[in-house]
Amino acid sequence: MSDILEILLNANFWAAALRIATPLIFGVIGALVCERAGVLNLGIEGIFTAGAMAGWMAVWLGTGLWGGVLVAALAGGFFGLIHAILTVPLGLSQHVSGIGVTLFATSLSYFIYRTALPDVSSPPRIEAFKPLDIPGLSDLPFIGPALFQQTPLTFLALAIVAVTAFVLYRTPLGLAIRAVGDNPSAVESQGLSVYALRMGTVIAGSALMALGGAFLTMSAFDAFFFGMVNGRGWICIALTVFASWRPGKALIGALLFGAFDAFQVRLQTEVGSFIPGQVFLMMPYILSIAALILVARKADYPRALLVPYFRGQR
């Protein structure tokens, strides 16, 4: 018991939680805005991979770190565009299009990486983002080490949560996005284009997802690996429902997940010998389902989620 308390009171633990949560924050916010506009984006797992690969490769080719972030976002936007075209004007099944995009983005990233670097024996490294060290703030007890061991991308993720919440709830654009996910004809009858809104949102959301991937190769690590994303995208899809499509709750969800993961890694060295490690690894998923059961009744779905819209359809 005291061990557990010791873990929880350690600032490094919270630093780890935030670090693990960062890619999930990008991903869940991206997935959330897409779904708010009525489009489920199961392309997320592949878009993560594409962002990780494209961002890393750009830096490796010399664009600089922020240049790499931009390239990652563009790559995400590109696959978002494909998903958007398939699901919005063409109205194809969002599940399948999403899985198709995941296959496509993943295999294309791998193929490009391997074809460009056929002869690497160990993956080439880049100079990744360094933790921000803000004199004064970093020395604060507890908060300092927890927050200021983070790289700029973590702060970007936190900022994006705030910006997304602001846009969704305070601006006309956000109003339109929330409306188009609930009833597209409400949007069309007010003179706005359903297609433009949905496609734009999916592209923007996918760009955000790609930043989650970029974090993996440019902050969490400094090289690209195959299989690096490792299901993180899927987690974001679950977190979106868990968060009832609200950015604030999404942040909390991602942090909880990060905390659990960090906790699990630490606890494993304590009790690992008599509880199989997989039990810990399962916990976040089981807790997600439990949370879903608790919120499901109250969750209000974007009502037009998964429903394609055709102009003039009755």
Binding site: I99, T115, I237, L292, A296
Partner: protein, 360 residues
């Protein structure tokens, strides 16, 4: 501006022509990465063809890969017909495989005639049971099954790892996380000497025909279609909606479970945590390519399998990175998906004036 006009019954030539055209477009697009990798494109196409159909070996390998795809494709197609979004075939496949090795690796000693049906049944049952939770949560509490089935994939996979590193670990496996081997009596028969092709393919074919008949000709199928197309109206008309969902969930999970049975009892003989290279997810793709038609699933699975096996073998023959195979499969998928649109709609390119599209 593009305009879609619905096309109700599609003529048979179109039904065949359009997917074929899509496949050709996909292959044409595949030339881009091939050129990028510096291949001679026509040579590569030839190698792809021989890689999938060029010899008995190639052909049986293609069929071997198609077998699990047919079953996971059916799992998705059946569930999606009822609008039960089962994204969990991957996990159900592992559950089926786990049950198969649990029963078939020495727990019960019996002749093949008893053991094989038992293994098959238990595998199907395990897969089906995996769907019970998500289905009940959906019908009773309104919990989104996309998320629960997706998350269950990870849980089951971890559970399998736990079993393989714990109680079900092969004591003779030198510490590797793998199960004990299946008894010979529990293995599905091979269909051809020296080839890997196995009884799982027969199970897949039978399942496809069975599901086809179920949907088209039976009361249960009628009820599944009604619930899928309009659950409210179905409930109002006295159709037991919850029972239908549960039935569909069980069947769908069972089909995915059978895919797992085929892989361990037909192919590998024991279970490892990397049994499936994403058959569950590919099944969704197969199902949609097939337009959720059970017989179409067979064709779509053969298509995907031949593209993969052909392209994989081509990459080996030409020394190109074998990630090319996955790339070509994904491009083929997107092309065929779009082509489905041409089956359902007349697509007209018209001036910016006419903008309405109509469909249901």
């Amino acid at each position: 501006m593009i305009r879609f006009e619905p096309r109700e019954p599609s003529s048979l030539p179109r039904l065949i022509l359009i997917p074929v055209a899509a496949a050709i477009v996909a292959l044409a697009l595949a030339a881009i990465p091939m050129l990028f990798a510096g291949l001679s494109v026509f040579n590569a196409y030839g190698l792809m063809l021989t890689g999938a159909f060029g010899s008995v070996f190639a052909f049986t390998e293609m069929l071997t890969r198609a077998a699990p795809l047919i079953l996971t494709g059916l799992a998705a197609a059946l569930a999606f017909r009822a609008k039960l979004w089962n994204i969990g075939a991957e996990g159900q496949l592992y559950a089926g495989a786990l049950a198969a090795v649990a029963i078939g690796s020495g727990m019960i000693d019996a002749p093949s005639i008893v053991l094989i049906p038992l293994v098959v049944f238990c595998g199907a049952l395990a897969g089906g049971v995996m769907m019970l939770g998500p289905t009940l949560l959906k019908t009773r509490l309104g919990v989104d099954e996309v998320v629960t089935t997706l998350l269950l994939n990870f849980i089951i996979l971890l559970f399998v790892q736990m079993m393989l590193e714990g109680p079900m670990k092969d004591p003779m496996g030198m510490g590797w996380p793998q199960s004990e081997p299946m008894l010979d009596e529990a293995m599905l028969p091979k269909l051809m000497a020296r080839m890997r092709i196995h009884g799982g393919l027969i199970i897949a074919f039978i399942a496809a025909i069975g599901i086809h008949i179920l949907l088209k000709r039976t009361v249960w199928g009628f009820e599944i279609r009604a619930v899928g197309e309009n659950a409210n109206a179905a409930r109002h008309a006295g159709i037991p909606v919850t029972a239908t969902f549960i039935r569909v969930g069980l069947f769908s999970g069972a089909l995915a479970g059978l895919a797992g049975v085929g892989e361990v009892a037909g192919l590998k003989g024991y279970l490892t945590a990397d049994l499936s290279p994403g058959f569950g997810y590919s099944g969704i793709v197969v199902a949609m390519l097939a337009g959720l038609s059970p017989l179409g699933v067979v064709i779509a699975a053969l298509f995907i399998a031949s593209i993969f096996v052909g392209a994989d073998s081509m990459s080996r023959a030409t020394g190109v990175s074998n990630y090319l195979a996955d790339l070509i499969v994904s491009m083929a998928l997107i092309c065929v998906l779009i082509s489905g649109l041409f089956l359902r709609f007349k697509v007209r390119f018209v001036g910016a004036k006419s903008t309405e599209g109509v469909s249901k």
